[in-house]
């Protein structure tokens, strides 16, 4: 049949309905799709897909620890660290774990071999089975930890490689965690709304997608609530509009209760199947 496909659902602006789209899409597909919730700062897909957790693992970074007896306070580690995470003051070495990227430059450079590395947990990965036999993976950043990207990287590693269809629910915005989520996918759906905010952030997201050379399509949520600027922009940029979802009180209320579009309005199952078929076509087309 078809080759495996990875689709990322992203949005420049938060709150445009990215998770609503992603969870509705996954429920329209055949059983056994893999779903990665990469929005590790504020993951929400579990509310809609209700996974039974089967496994939980800690994920972290390796951070340096300095053996005081061996350290000569030469200051080399301080010099090479790009993130000011290891600082030598007089004859003491201080490590600021929250600033450390776990790059290993300090231990590599230390002429006295005084640095060892320990694993520090910054978040967790959960795995389970959700509705419709979905293989569900979620990353969760610990409160107070600044770095989301390493968790997303790990989440991608933990994903099964034999899944025919993988959906990644990306965080909002266009910065490092989003780039990590989009990297390596075959197609990206950008969810937006037809307002000045929606358009502004859509443009940023499209810029990011182009840098990453990933084919894109747009889903417009609350399509009747603003004006036609997003439509015009998509036309001008040659971005396919995959689906439009109207602003309806029953959708807003169902969503508030943790229901997907498929639960609220079953006719959306067909529409999302159409969206998926269209994406397959776009990907095939882009591959040529």
């Amino acid at each position: 049949m078809d080759t495996p496909i990875t689709i990322t659902i992203a949005s420049g602006k938060g709150g445009t309905g990215k998770t609503l789209v992603a969870t509705s899409l996954v429920l329209s597909l055949p059983e056994g799709v893999q779903y990665l919730d990469c929005d590790v700062e504020a993951p929400n897909a579990h509310i809609f897909l209700q996974p039974q957790w089967e496994e939980e693992l800690k994920t972290g970074l390796v951070v340096p620890r300095v053996e005081a007896a061996v350290c000569t306070a030469c200051g080399e580690c301080n010099r090479v660290c790009e993130f000011k995470a290891i600082v030598v003051i007089v004859d003491k070495v201080l490590v600021f774990d929250e600033l450390c990227h776990g790059c290993g430059a300090c231990s590599y450079i230390c002429p006295s071999d005084a640095i060892t590395e320990i694993e520090k947990a910054i978040g967790i990965i959960r795995k389970g089975r959700a509705r419709n036999g979905i293989r569900f993976l979620q990353g969760l950043l610990n409160i107070g930890e600044p770095m989301a990207t390493p968790i997303i990287r790990r989440l991608k590693k933990e994903a099964a490689t034999n899944a025919r269809i993988t959906l990644r629910d990306a965080p909002p915005g266009t910065s490092c965690p989003v780039i990590e989520s989009v990297e390596g996918s075959d197609f990206t759906i950008l969810v937006t709304e037809p307002t000045p905010f929606g358009l502004n952030d859509l443009k940023l997201a499209v810029g990011m997608g182009r840098e990453l050379h990933v084919p894109m399509g747009v889903i417009i949520n609350r399509a009747d609530a603003g004006d036609d600027r997003v439509h015009r922009y998509c036309g001008k940029e040659g971005l396919p509009i995959l689906l439009e979802i109207p602003l309806k009180r029953e959708i807003a209320q169902g969503y508030a209760d943790g229901q997907t579009l498929i639960d609220i309005l079953p006719e959306y199952r067909d529409r999302f199947q159409g969206v998926f078929a269209r994406i397959q076509e776009e990907v095939r087309h882009a591959g040529k």
Partner: protein
């Protein structure tokens, strides 16, 4: 007077989950607060300028991080950079910019000494005038990293400007999530206003943001936007906050007029959205007005 009491007070408006109306509130607060400087710290998806229509007075470059540049002509393809790099970002001297963590280990490890780290111009920040007073904002280059660092720059500039002008408040539009840019937008502020919505997702993310403000020991208040789309969930938010001793400073009804105001580049106060404008004013009074 002790030095600290002359320091401008800082308010950050955040939400955890995006799209709950954070920027709409910030813009309304810009209009209502007299003596203040605005700061758009949602540098990743900056939207405040769409309502405040800033006229840029000053532009300055932002250098986020250094990036390795390899002199490929002298590269012997020894593969040491590939071996040491923990981010799988460099292969035989060829860099994958999107995977690179900018740590410089490859430069230190290269036996030929042909890798240099070069500053990259990864965005700009601005000081502007708006119809409601000064504003500091920024634009991050496409697919650039380090939004946390840029948030820190914007906040520092806004605070300096506020001190210079004797402004009483710095009002900060914060980013979504709980990670690095949010932490940068929160540290050391006077108080935090969390805008949430009565959806299960909104509640979930509000709880995470509240854990974060508790973690950093910053006083937080909550406002429920579009409270009437789901009264049961609104009650859940209220009882959660009561339990945690968090003050709810207001509930704002849903009205399409909010979207229409945004489309026409107006604050909800300027558009005088029925039900919404008076409720926002009440929230403002409880957060800032009677400070």
């Amino acid at each position: 007077m002790p030095e600290s009491s002359r320091m401008p007070k800082q308010l950050t408006i955040i939400s955890g989950k995006g799209g709950t109306g954070k920027t709409t509130f910030t813009a309304a607060f810009a209009q209502l607060t007299e003596n203040k400087v605005m700061a758009d710290c949602d540098v990743d998806a900056a939207d405040l300028h769409l309502v405040l229509a800033p006229e840029i007075q000053k532009t300055a470059p932002f250098y986020g991080s250094r990036t390795p540049v390899v002199d490929l002509e002298r590269c012997t393809r020894c593969g040491i950079c590939t071996q040491v790099c923990r981010f799988d970002a460099i292969h035989g001297g060829v860099l994958n910019l999107f995977a690179c963590d900018h740590c410089a280990l490859c430069m230190h490890a290269c036996p030929e000494n042909i890798i240099t780290m070069e500053e990259s111009h990864s965005g700009d920040w601005f000081i502007s005038n708006t119809r409601f007073g000064p504003m500091v904002h920024a634009r991050l280059g496409i697919a650039e990293e380090n939004s946390g660092k840029l948030v820190t720059v914007v906040r520092k500039e806004a605070l300096n400007l506020a001190k210079e002008q004797g402004a009483e408040w710095v009002i900060i539009d914060g980013p979504p999530g709980i990670g690095c840019p949010v932490t940068a937008a929160l540290t050391g502020v006077t108080r935090v206003l969390i805008i949430t919505e009565p959806t299960l997702s909104g509640i979930h993310d509000m709880e995470r943001v509240l854990s974060l403000t508790t973690h950093f020991n910053i006083p937080a208040q909550v406002c429920v936007n579009k409270y009437d789309i789901h009264p049961d969930n609104t009650r859940r938010i209220e009882s959660y906050c009561r339990q945690k001793g968090i003050e709810i400073v207001g509930k704002i009804p849903f009205d399409r007029g909010v979207i229409e105001a945004m489309v026409s580049g107006k604050t909800v106060m300027e558009a005088d959205v029925p039900g919404v404008a008076p409720a926002v004013r009440q929230v403002w009074e409880r957060v800032i007005g009677d400070w």
